[in-house]
Structure formats: structure tokens, C-alpha cells
Amino acid sequence: MLSSHLAGEEDLTDLAHRAMSDRDVMDALMRDVRTVSHRYCRARLSGYRDGGALADDVAQEICIAVFQALPTFQDQGVPFEAFVYAIGSRKVADAQRSAYRSRHIFVEAVPDLGDTAASAEAEVLDRFEAKDVLALLDSLPERLREVLVLRVAMGLSAADVGVTMGMTAGAVRIAQHRALQRLRELHQAREVTRGEVRA
């Protein structure tokens, strides 16, 4: 049985089977689903305006959709993570389309982000680098970008990514290698452009 690295040591597929008859197990399952979906939404939507709030909303929608579709889940060799990923990817795609149409989100008050970073300089540098990486990721093909999102942002192994996306582990390794090569080329081209501008 595949041990999941998504939300903890628990196997989500086993939890999903037991959740139908146990409310406590259902609660634990939905917590893990919320953690997984929230991280995935952050990874996919953080480049958008008010991506944090948008990711929160989409993660909640994913949890609701998973809860509603849970009775239809059947163990046919595909882990529950793939089931969640199939729902989450569609929800994220819908959110991205909606974000392109309406890019304004009204809030009652400016949210207080608190002091969670090690230092302000490190946080700023991280955010700048993260912004650059997101810009580079957007230029990748959909398949390669999904592999890197699941591999880096979600922390899945190559085998888990393959199970989730319906690929073999070798195909995942080749895809992530191509993605990194593409990112290096784009990064090098950008650095060259920046150097010419500075000169």
C-alpha cells in the first residue's frame, strides 16, 4: 500500500474507506484533505492578485467537493490523493479563469500577516525569488508545471507524483528534469537580459 506523504503518516485511501462509517475518521480525513488542498492552491494561485485569500476559498471549495464526492470514491488501484488532485486541479483552473475575469477582491480590513518570517530581509528575498520562480513556472507547459508543483510545493516523491498524475516514476523524473532544464534556460536568458539592461 502506498504511504502518503501529503498530510502525514496516515494513508488517505484507508482513511477514506473508514470515513464513511466513522465521523472521527471523517474529521481527520477532511483535515488532511484541507491541508493538502490548501498547499496545492497556494502553490498554484500565489502568483495571482490576493492569491492567499483566493487559495483559501478554493481550498474550502475543494474540501466541500471532496466531501460530497466521497461516497462515489472506489478503490480501483488509484490512491485517494489522485482523487483529491483531480478535483483540486479543476477547482484551481476555475479559480484562475475567474481571477482573470475579476481581479478585485474587497476585504473589510487589511489582514495582519504577523511576524512569522525569520527576518524581514529574508522574507523579502524569498518573496522576490518566489515571484521570479512563479513567473518562470507560468511559462512551462501544463504537464511539467504540475509535476514541479506536486514535487516541490507538495513535497511528494516521484513515485507519489506518478500515482497522483497517472504516470510512472520514471516518467515523472524525466518530466521534472525537463522542467528544471527549461527553467534554467529561462533564468539564464533573463539574467542576460538584465545584464544588457544594466550595461
Binding site: H38, R39, A130, R173, Q176, H177, R184, H187
Partner: protein, 282 residues
Amino acid sequence: MSSRYDPVARDDELLDALIAGRVPDDPVLEGLASWRSVLLAEEREATATAVVTEEPLGGRHARRRHVAPVAARQTRRAATMGTAAAVLLSMGVSQAVAGNPVAPLQFVVDRAVGLGEGMADPRASDVREPRTVPTPSALASPDVLTGRADAGALTSRSAEGPQADRDAPTRDGDDTSSGGDDGEKTPREPAPSDRPEASPPTTSPTPPWSTQPRPPREHGDHRDRDRDRDRGGDRDGDRDGDRDRDRDRDRNRWPDADDRRDDPRRPWWMSGLTVEEPRSSE
């Protein structure tokens, strides 16, 4: 032994190291590590915020401005429209019956308040008969004044005679305008403002509906159609009533509604009523 360099395996190892928290010496992987650290920091922050701000659903918006429900608003609108339709219908019925759309309103106001048109007249006396019980000579028709429902009551009252009608307020004791003086028990002369100028009588002294029923019409008799075709009414100089087409001067017929409306001495709001005429001394 020398191992062959496998870039695919190398990248896989670098990504595993990145997930483990070791930042490889690669600009792209450094950016990916920063991206992952930002995501993890936001996740921790979101989890902490969710724990702190955990509150029941709708608790933040507990006090909302009261908004009337849609059903009540529609009900009020329907009630308003129904009331308006009832008022219009009653005005239409009044127009058809009495020729005056506000005749019921005038009747109610006159009966309840007891005010007359002479109250504001400085020539009028303070004590005067209420208009709630007009004399039979002043009645144009029971249907005109009070509607068909009161026709029987007026007919029975008029059968007692003019004197009984004049004494009716004092007997009933509902004279609100006089204050209950003893002098009111005797018939009084009408006030100067109520007394019209000397003119030929326009109404019959005795109501024909109580003593002399209208004879049945003969074939070819179309008096109603032939009435007052010259539209002159009483202004055509026919004082003796012999040549008056509407035949309302022969003391046997009721005055026409046209004559009542054409009377220049009649107020505009009294178009369906008749002014009390003094008795002729003949």
C-alpha cells in the same frame, strides 16, 4: 570505478534535498526553495489564523440592518392596491347611483360632523337644523341622496309629513349643533343664508312617491327622452311650467338632474342635492 553522470537522477536528488530543507547551489533550485518556504510560511500562518479566529458561522455579521422580507413587502403592496381598487370601485358605484363620486363621503361627513355650508357664513345663525334629516321637499330622490339602501327609511319618514320631519332632530335628541336648547323644540325659520331668494319653486311640496305613484307609461310616451331638449332648464323663461318640456314645474313631476345641476345657486359639491326651498305662500 567511475559512475556515469545521470542528469535525471541528479535533478531528482536535488529536489529531494530541497524538500528535505537543504538548498542546493543552483539558482533555479534556490528560487524553488524560496517558493516552498514562502508556501510553508503562509500555510502555518493560515492555520494559526484559522485557529485563532475560529468562531461560529455568521458570528461576525450578527448585527445586520433590518431588512423587511420580500413577502411582507409584496403583501403591503397588494393591500395598498386592493384598497385603492376598492376606493375607485366605490367611487364608480357612487357616480353611477348618485351622480357624484364622493357622495358617500359627503353623506358620512355631514352626518358625523353636522357641519353645513352656512357655518362659515357670518350671516348664518349659530343654531340651525342639521342637514342629516332634510325635508322631503329638499330631497331629490332617495336613491340620489342616500343610496338605494336608505330609500325605504326615507320613504317611511316622509310619509309622516313635513312637520314630523322638522321635529325629528329634537325627538331623536341627536342635534349636535344646537347644544340642546329648549327653543329648538319649536320649528324655527331658516337662516337668511339658507333661505334662497324669491324664485319660483322648483320642487313639489309633497313627494309623489308616497301618495301618487307614477302612472304607467302609455305606448309612444317618451317623456324621459323628450325632457328638456333645449337644455335651458329653468332659464328658458318658462316660469309657468306650461311649456316646459321637462315638465318639472307642474308640481307633479320630479325635477330633473339637469335642472338641479344647472341651478346657479347650488354649490359645486352639492350637485346631486337640492337646496331647501321656502314654502310658497300661495
